[in-house]
Point group: C2
Chain length 206, copies 2
DNA sequence: CAACTTCAGTACCGTTCGGTACCGAACAAT
DNA sequence: ATTGTTCGGTACCGAACGGTACTGAAGTTG
């Protein structure tokens, strides 16, 4: 949550008559549902309730709008990531992470799946920058998990022969798979079970 | 492999001067790499080495070309699915399935990832039919796994309290996650480890 | 009020999209 | 040889793309 910095250069002139934060939220949903390339400016601006001109003035261009929408996604629907990382034990981290992935990917009233996965996996020339941003974001997320597991090893929370790198990649893999499943129509309860199954035997992980 | 049915209406007239099978293979790679919407007709036909006119005459239109490319993908790079399902035990099925997913998603000289996952997760209006075809394909794949696990339960190969539906969804989830990871640049060895980890404790599955 | 700035909107930019009409040439069957 | 069909290639279609110039109105500051 919180106001997104839209960097108004001055306080002069006629003030903006739409809520930039609200508009960004609408754009986020469109990107979430249709991906970067699949979301046209017409789709975006009509969902945002503003004209193309206003969008360009407020957000720069389509790519910047996407970046800001992603930031907002990270702070909003995907805030479960940061919350999960703050849990006291590694087991709880994984539990919260996968639970968050399931719930965010299957939230009623929101698009099914995860923006960072379906926003752009494959892309033509035009969508490549957006794809790279999403790859970087997922990498960052994985690095956080890895660091968290390293700490857990140091603290004796995980067995000393645990491979934090591998464990982080495994958890990310399951989370990404959950997003794909959700995009394909899988329901929350079914994915909840999948997440449980993925964790059930996680303790003996070495 | 095998000739793709391109349905020549008659033997009359000048024969085709390009190899339709070869051309379809090239198109498959482009779709694999760029997705349905991301692959333009120009991208496709220039990779296929033919003109737009020839493409339309031979394959119908972009959507049909995609369908045929998907069929070819299923018979070629994704043939590991059928092979895995034919293994004698459920454990071997899962092993072969996940190994195949890793190898196909990280094959040198081929696009990273899985066509059915990144071909179209999210889509604008134009890409929706392609997306639905891919969803159906993944569903079909999952149903095959489920049926195979049901059989394994009947045969006593899996514990009688196993949930084949859940197990199939779990395996598909991991496979899909692997494809996403591969599309994000993960290497074969790393994903190989992830697949091992996903299977390591699979035996006590109930 | 006057000066300025930004508003929302329209019309339009050049480009690319998927898809077609038409072409003369090439080949097969009669 | 004639007829019929398809070839590969060019030129083009209307529509949609991302993005911009220009407009008169609206609002803030001096």
């Amino acid at each position: 949550m919180g106001a997104v910095d839209v960097t108004r250069k001055s306080a002069l002139g006629r003030p903006r008559s739409f809520d930039a934060d609200e508009a960004l939220g609408r754009a986020m949903v469109v990107f979430w549902e249709q991906g970067y390339e699949g979301a046209s400016l017409t789709d975006l601006t009509s969902a945002m309730g503003i004209t193309k001109t206003s969008m360009y003035a407020a957000f720069g261009n389509k790519e910047e709008l996407f970046r800001k929408a992603l930031r907002r996604y990270a702070e909003g629907p995907a805030s479960y990531v940061a919350e999960a990382l703050a849990r006291p034990t590694a087991l709880e981290v994984v539990e919260a992470f996968l639970t968050g992935a399931v719930e965010t990917s299957t939230r009623p009233g929101c698009p099914a799946g995860c923006l960072s996965v379906q926003g752009s996996l494959a892309a033509g020339e035009a969508g490549r920058p957006a794809r790279d941003v999403l790859i970087a974001w997922r990498e960052e997320c994985r690095a956080y998990l890895r660091d968290r597991f390293r700490r857990a090893v140091d603290e004796g929370d995980l067995p000393p022969d645990t491979d934090p790198e591998l464990l982080a990649r495994y958890v990310m893999t399951v989370a990404n798979g959950i997003a794909v499943q959700a995009a394909g129509g899988a329901g929350r309860d079914e994915l909840r079970q999948v997440a449980d199954l993925a964790m059930r035997n996680w303790q003996p992980v070495r």
